[in-house]
Symmetry: C2
Subunit: 370 residues, 2 copies
């Protein structure tokens, strides 16, 4: 594992700036990972993705094993060559789909059985299989298979899923063989501090390369989500990367960074971009709104992205006319927005002023919701 390292460069209260080194290059953290579910960030080619400031991308084990299959990806040179992305890649384990596709799934101690959402074929995902698939895909960072449940939920349900996730994490660790792939654990336990502590202690004892905070952004309020982060971070090793899965809005990212989180992924920038919602420092801009029809200004005057070479009026026209270029450009803008936001957060941490930076950004975002 000599090609992996996590070096903390500076700390500002709980927040930190660090360098996470992988076999495909280094990531300056805190960092946001664009989501490339099926081996592509929707509507953004690899060159344009790099231009947004993305340093590392996420791809989905569940989707890729169903189509085109990990053997196909491996035969085509592995995920980096397949996607044309030579930077770091993290793959999730399919655990989130246990939650999001719950009605297609049965679960027991051995693993999960799905019906493929594509052709109805039976698919089994065990901890060993989740690791084997990710090893074939060849990502830099693999995630353990976990059991995610919706919130709120009964304590017994949350506890059972957390303890199963612990046993599965151990099986994943035992199954992992690639020295050029590091394996991250996932803390579960809902919003219960005791269950979170039991999960974290069990995982930390197994000594993983990094730790994710899972089981959040699954139905709880934003305040509960941040409370879950705040209780969990202190249970994790100081010198390992911390990854908050599936989060979130710009304000959520800054709140979590302030509490010591290093890595994020979320579909919001691209999914919202495809639906004509653009993120800005003055809050979201809904480009289908008639008020932008004759607006000659870009989304953000200071944004260097390709969408901001055009007027809001043009972007609105593209959505009204059903042109692909609308989703393409606003996805690029939103990813650039997230990339710039996290770069600014890193700078603020380096200068010991993350708190002031968060307050300032919050004021801009909240003005827009008035």
């Amino acid at each position: 594992m000599a090609s992996f390292a996590f070096e903390i460069l500076h700390e500002d209260a709980a927040a930190r700036v660090a360098t996470f080194t992988t076999p495909h290059g280094a990531v300056e953290t805190p960092a946001f990972m664009p989501v490339g579910t099926q081996g592509t960030v929707k509507g953004v080619d690899a060159g344009r993705l790099r231009e947004t400031g993305a340093q590392i991308v996420l791809a989905n084990t569940y989707h890729l094993t169903l189509r085109p299959g990990e053997q196909t990806v491996a035969a085509l040179g592995g995920l980096h060559a397949f996607m044309g992305w030579d930077g770091p890649i993290l793959t999730d384990s399919g655990g989130f789909q246990v939650f999001s596709l719950a009605e297609r799934m049965t679960i027991d101690e051995q693993g999960v059985r799905f019906r493929s959402h594509i052709d109805g074929a039976a698919v089994e995902l065990t901890p060993e299989r989740a690791v084997a698939i990710q090893e074939q895909l060849g990502s830099d960072v693999a995630m353990v298979l976990d059991h995610v449940v919706a919130l709120p939920n009964e304590r017994d349900v949350v506890a059972d899923a957390m303890r199963r996730s612990l046993r599965w994490a151990e099986r994943c660790r035992a199954a992992a063989t690639r020295p050029d792939q590091s394996l991250f654990a996932i803390v579960q336990g809902g919003l219960d501090p005791e269950l979170r502590a039991e999960s974290a202690a069990g995982l930390v004892a197994m000594d993983f390369a990094g730790y994710a905070i899972g089981g959040l952004s699954v139905g709880e309020t934003p305040a509960e989500m941040i409370a879950g982060v705040e209780m969990t971070v202190p249970m994790l090793p100081h010198d390992k990367p911390r990854y908050l899965m599936g989060v979130g809005r710009p304000v959520d990212l800054l709140e979590a960074i302030a509490r010591g989180v290093d890595l994020f992924d979320c579909v919001m920038p691209t999914r919202n971009g495809r639906n004509a919602l653009a993120f800005t420092d003055a809050g979201p801009v809904r480009l289908r709104n008639q008020q932008y029809a004759l607006d000659g200004e870009p989304l953000e005057a200071e944004c260097p992205c390709r969408a901001c070479r055009h007027s809001r009026g043009y972007l609105r026209h593209l959505f009204q006319a059903g042109e692909m270029l609308g989703p393409m450009l606003v996805s690029i803008h939103n990813l650039t927005y997230y990339g710039r936001l996290l770069a600014a957060a890193r700078q603020a941490i380096a200068e010991d002023r993350l708190g002031a930076f968060l307050s300032e950004r919050r004021r801009g975002w909240e003005m827009a919701t008035v």
Copy 2:
């Protein structure tokens, strides 16, 4: 009109290499114009479009007047600023939609009345209105409004439409006011040499900046289309650009270039690209075909385009998975293919070997259809 010029650099039999200068830069001809119907070449941003080798793009008066409206485009700085394309732009007049949307249209001497395909609103397009819209859009080259009819057709129908097109061309010329926009005429007359000659003579007497060959690719065979080109070119001035509208396949372009055509437009590279058909020197590649699932080679090893940084297997996966990036990348490849084909044709003309070049390319394309 000092900012317009057409300078022939070299001739190889009927074919010629020339420089067509416009207020937004020069075009080396023969040139292919990608089609940006609604103010965007579908799935290709302006930077990527430039990378394909495109020198000039086409946009559609009919579509842009319906949505967002020429006043909106003008208020947003004109078509160049709107699209973010600082090179030359040619706009068609809406005449082709008289043909393609015939069931929504009534025509008389005054002009054409449509029902909008978007909201059913009544729209009138007269020669004067077609010029006024194009002047508001601010393209470098505007086209006269013409009356296109399907082929085969009765001689009287073709003759009536051709003579109406002559009268409309005169009205367009009288209506044009922008010194920074040049106006091209359109020769009609179906496949009848006498009618074509009458049309060409009438238009040439009016002295336009360029001449299009219209009314082809509307139902006739490829051989008839090329015969139509062959009969028409000698009726046109030697020292003005000649534009074959709506054509076509790679072989059609080379056949027409050999007969003296300078400019082309067609939706084939982008429409086929969106449908997973890629052009290559060895003929079309249908990427949905199972045979490409494990194909690690690019579409063309020597192609510099962004799609050719990926394997055919990856491109196939994108189409199978319904990802936008498939249409995006194969549109880029096909436009690059057309751009490279025309650059090679210019080189062949400059070296007096266009005939040999056409034969060689035809052999490659025909092998694939076996």
